[in-house]
Structure formats: C-alpha cells, structure tokens
Symmetry: C2
Subunit: 441 residues, 2 copies
Amino acid sequence: MSRRGFLAGVAGGALAGGRTLFALQSAAPAVDATDLRARIEALSLFGRPPAGTFASGVTRVAYSDADLAGRSYVLELMRAAGVTPRIDPAGNIFAKRPGTDASLRPILFGSHIDSVPAGGNFDGDLGVLASIGVLDAFERRGVRTRHPLEVVLWAAEEGVAFNRGLSGSRIVAGDIAPDHMEQMWNGMRRADAIRKIGGDPDRIMDARRDKGAWHAYLELHIEQGGTLERSNTAVGVVQGIVAIARYEAKIIGFANHSGTTPMADRQDAMIAAAHLTLAVREAVTRKPGRQVGTVGKIEVSPNAANVVPGAATLIIELRDLSTATLDSIAEEIRGRAAVIAAETRTTIQMTPASANPPAFADTAVQDVVERAAQSLNLAAARMPSGAGHDAQMMARLAPMGMIFVPSIGGISHSPKELTRWEDCAHGANVLLQSVLALDRT
Amino acid sequence: MSRRGFLAGVAGGALAGGRTLFALQSAAPAVDATDLRARIEALSLFGRPPAGTFASGVTRVAYSDADLAGRSYVLELMRAAGVTPRIDPAGNIFAKRPGTDASLRPILFGSHIDSVPAGGNFDGDLGVLASIGVLDAFERRGVRTRHPLEVVLWAAEEGVAFNRGLSGSRIVAGDIAPDHMEQMWNGMRRADAIRKIGGDPDRIMDARRDKGAWHAYLELHIEQGGTLERSNTAVGVVQGIVAIARYEAKIIGFANHSGTTPMADRQDAMIAAAHLTLAVREAVTRKPGRQVGTVGKIEVSPNAANVVPGAATLIIELRDLSTATLDSIAEEIRGRAAVIAAETRTTIQMTPASANPPAFADTAVQDVVERAAQSLNLAAARMPSGAGHDAQMMARLAPMGMIFVPSIGGISHSPKELTRWEDCAHGANVLLQSVLALDRT
C-alpha cells in the first residue's frame, strides 16, 4: 500500500490507476494519522500495567476504574470533535452530528474500549478513535452529510464481567430483562456496575432500539487473525460473523491400574480423546474453506500418571459463516467418534453445548466498503470474522458492515497485539469513505 | 482347576497325573478355605462405607482408625494361630513361629491390609490372611519346619498417606532418615501416625534390617490385572516387579483466538499432545512383550473452549522388567516427539520425571513356586508384576518370590476388585507348599 494511496482520500471517486492525485489532496477529507496514533497511545495509559509501556498492553475490563477513566478520555475527544455525547441506560456512549436532512436516519459507527485482562491496545480502541477521527476530518473540511452521523462507544463488549455476555450492544438489540440487573460479579451488582459508568439500570429496558433505528452500522476493527497480513492485504471486507457450534464429547472408558493392565485390555479414554482431537482437525480441514475447529478444553479423570484414564470430556468448537457447513462437519465428526469408540472400546457421547447463529454483513454495505478501499488504492478481500463483535448485534437492527485491518502475526487478546500505524490510518479512511458513500444512499 | 487338585496338598511330592489322592488328604496340611473366606469377609468390615456390603469395598487408608481396627483383628488371628506378634518401630507387625533348627534364618511371608480410598477387599488382605492360614494349617497338622517361619503385616503399603511412599517395608529395607518422621499429612505428623499404630518413631532407624536377615521372602497377592483370568491360569509366578520410568513431555505451541486463527496458522499444543499420546501407545505395542505405557495425566493451557491451546504437559509412564526395553521405547517416543513438534510447529521437551529400577524375583524361588503349583495340579505361568509391592523392597534383603492369583476382569483399587474364593484358596496353598519347599533348602 503506497503512502500516495493512503492520502488520496477521494470521496467515492473512481480513479484511473496511474492518475496523479496531488490536486485532490487538499480538498478531500481524511482522518489525521498522527492524531489517530497519538490517541491510541494516550488511551493505552488507562489500564496499563504499573511501570509498563505501550508494549505492555492493557487490562481495561468493563466497569473497572480503568474503563471509567478511558471512557472519560473518549468523552473529551467527542466534545472536541464538536458533538455532544450522551450515555444510554446500558452505559453505551452515543454522540450525534446532525445531517442536512433531519428526516434521514443516522449512520452509526464505532466500537468498544473495554479489554480482556492483559489485552492489547487495538482491539476496539482503533474503531472508537477512528470514528471520532472521521468526525474531526469532516469538521476540519466543513463536510456536511445528508444523514446524521452517530459515533458509538459500546459498553462491556469483551464479556469478561458478569457471567453472561450481556454487552451494551446486546442490550440495545433487545436481549435484556430487568432481572439481569441483579446479577453479581466480583462482589458487584450489575446494576451498580452500569450505574458506575453512567448508565441507568432502572431504565435498562429503554436502552433497546428498534430495527431500522439506523440507516447503517459500520465498525472498523483489527482482524485478530493473520489472514490479511499473510496475503499482504490492507483491508478485510467482512462478510459476516461466523456461527459458533460447540459440542461436548464425553468419553467413558474404564479406569484401571497403569502397571497391571495389559495394553490389549485397556479402555483408555485418553487414547480415544487423542483420536477424536485429531479427527476434529481432519474433518475441518478436509474441504477447502475458512471454517475452523478447535478442541481447546479437555478434562481427564482421574488424571493421574499411574491410572489408565477412565473418562475424558472434550469441548469441540466449530466456526463458519455457513451453519450447513458446520452441521456437515459435526456429522462427520460424529461418524468418526463412533468408529473411535468401537476401536478403543469406549463410549463417546457428543451433545450440542451451544450454538450461535451467524450474523451476516449487508451485501450492499460490503460493496460500499470494498469500493471505498479501491478508491484509496488499497487491496481488499472479503472474509468472515471468526470472532464476535458488537456488529453482530447491530446486524439485527440495521444493514451492517465491518472493516478489518491486519493484525501483525495474527495475535490478539494479548499485549503483543499490534497493527501498523499505516494500516490503522488506512482502515480509518476506508471507514470515512464508506460513511460518505452510505450517506449518498 | 479341579476341587480334587486343590485338596491334594502334598508337600512337594511329585504326583503322577491320574493318581488317586484320597489316601493323602488327611495327612497333608492345607489352608482352610472356609476360614480364609470368613476372615477376608470379616476384615472387610473395617473401613467399609456406612450401610455398605462386601461389594462396597473398603477405605482403610494407612494410619486411619479403620486401619488400626483392622490391624487389631489381625493381631487376634495371629495369637489364635499360636504365635506372638510384635510391632517393629515402623509399625510393621511380625509374628514368628520357631523352627526345629534355631541356627537357620526365618522364612518371611505376608503382605499388607491398608487400602487406597474406595479400594477392594483382596489387595493385600489376601496375602496377610493366607499367611496366617498357613500357620494355622501347620499348627493343626503338627507340622514343624526346620526354619523359623515369620508372618508379616507391612504398614502403609499403598502410599496414600504422606507425600512420599515411605511404606513399612521400605523402612525395613533402609530407605529412612530420622527427619522423615517430621513430615505432615492431613494435619498429622508422621511420627504420630506411626505411634498411633504401635510403632516407635524415636527408634525408627532400628526398624532397618540387614541383607540376609531372612532365608527368603514370599508374598501372595492378587494380580490386579486380567492376564491370569483371560488365560484361565490359576497361579502367576512373578518374575519381578517392573521398572517404572516416567517422563514429563512439555509441549509449547502458541495460544490464539479459536475463531480468528486459520487452521494452517495454528501452533496447537493439543494437536501435538494427541499425536504424542498415540505415539506412546504405538511405540509400546510395536514389539511383542508385556511392556506397558500410559499417558494418564495431561494439563492444557489455557484450557478454554475458545482458545487454541498454547501449552500442554503430559506424563508418559513406561513399565517393564527390562530397563533396556524402557530405554529403547523412550528413545523411539523421543524421535516421534521431534517429528510431531516439527509437523505441528510446537516445541516438545521430554524430560525424565522419575525412574524406579526393577526388583527381580529370585529364580530359585520362582522355580519353587512353580513346582508348588504343579504339585497342586494348578496351571501356572511366569509373569511380571506391573504394580509395586512390599516384595519389591524385600528383594533387597532376601531371595524374593511372589504368587499371583486371578483378578476378575483385571479390576483393582476399586470396590469391584474381586477374586474367586477358590482362587484365593489355591493361592494360599501354593504359598503353603512354597514355604515347605523353601524350608527344605
């Protein structure tokens, strides 16, 4: 990606490849890359480990003091961008910039700033700060959109706090009941947690918004995987957020003395678990596609060096945009499990543990994002999101689109999470151009 | 095995196969099968779960009140057999019956009565009660041996109590230092535990005995495996107690998001662990022989459904009489681990965790046991013991031999542990005949 391409912020213009763009630079709005970097670095201070550096990452768990401080910083930035933030009953922060046509619905864009424990400085943060950067750019260039523009900071995206992933965006999408406010976590009531960040738990049901509340929803986010970096692609056009199917595989063998039980007599649950773990990988990788499957968790009983394992429980997780693909992989694993059980003289029960449906990005919004990237001379590729995002909830209420930028080494949820500053700015400008393009629809 | 064969307790006599034996029955000493059964059933009361039956097994952990009560019962049986028990400083119970030649060293035989939690009614108990049955039989028939006979109940064989397997037999074999008495377990000092069962921790070093203290050591025990039952063999002539080599295999991959990390980019420690687990089984079963190998324990990090496992630690345990065999299997596993590490892009470090040498049974004693079985028309087969036993320690001090009887289904360390009463009696009489045969040497 050339520096020239990045600066060529032409609103939706179709550009001939070799054309000189200098004439357009001063006229076109663009997110200020220096500001964006400075703000990501500044936000990293809230939740930084003691005596740490930017490379130490952040622990900015939702509802913590660090979260509260980070939110105050974002509120300041919003005000500086000329918009007045308001906090909804769920603790989400919205800031609206009027458009020229008050009858049009707002275009919403944003992300979150809460983190996992020992997380990185880009997950969520980039999307929020780039969104404010878009408002700044419009303000600087005097750009007025037809639609109102609304920037959002979603509360509690990471699902670390409390025992249900009741993010601010989920509440807005309607998955909420008053008694959820009574849940406890770390000695804190959810109602008090929401009140701490400026929400109003007594009016929590008012946080819900109707389908059609927004013209569209956009979210810029780091990929959190290594696909873009490896293929040297600046922009991922997200097709949707994958479905997740989890199965519990319970293997029952027979626990016996590791010294006195001949190999031929064993009903070793660990051997069956090993075969099944490999079968999951084989079933997932047999066909081309981006589907993934993981055995991330195992419990073995009695888990002692001198006992042939009598039982093992695995969690099998499958992810893909297509639930049909997931079902067919699960069916194949089930078939393999039956063979493995017979061969190892164990029983294997595979039961569904949870199933999340996919959340598709709107195809027209995907086209808008792709053209925005092309207009900036940035290579773009369509791809699924393997991780969950606030956009997943917003897909229920509005045409949704997501913009991914490369994660170095595909590392995320880690202090080592990193995205090149150049790529951050690229993503921010794809967001800006996409907002402008959507404003024309 | 015919009932006739069992009753034909001819002391060391070589019998023609078809010969009628009725004439010999009244003259030959034999362990009373009814008594033996009644005593095994009676001993099972000490440590039986509340409202349980014989089939509920026992929890008679060393130094517990149940252990103390069981030992009192055995002390009574010893006195009834005409011998005076004494408790050594380690809490082992010895009871000596004089021989006709006071210059000869005693023949020692016995076992233990402590159990694992939720253990069975035969592990150890059979050997102790059969040994007393041998004395009873001699007393009843007026048999006087040349050598003194000494029955032993070893303390704390199962290694459940305290953090080191400091059994009574290990102390007698010399693996003891005064400071071991200070170890704590379950709020109890080892010195107090030993004192509770009648030992004398202040004189613990006096429990040690010299090599040559006994003419021979014999132990009757259940097999705890399924080899004898499956081959319909009444008696196992133990060749020795296997060596145990344990290795810790530490696999380091890279923990990453299970949704955003494509299959091709993963460094999945669980996948490597699965391959390694299967490689252990393959390496162990590739060559004929009785060697066994187990991956009984695994720890995975972070062990979460939505994270590609970043690290896994396995314990690989190998057992065989031959340390050369163990070394060659370990070498093969090491080679496979290197290939697996390369293929899964992980690192695998395999380090020795512990190594117990084998303890061989004396070949002359093995011959004695085998001939004793043959004299009773019982099928016998030589075999290693995959489990540890007090005999392992005694092999350091005296020519050692062990007699195995079949475990139904190969089950042990379980309330389901079971040996047919007929087989118990067979074993007891092989013990009796072996004692008589050793007395002639």
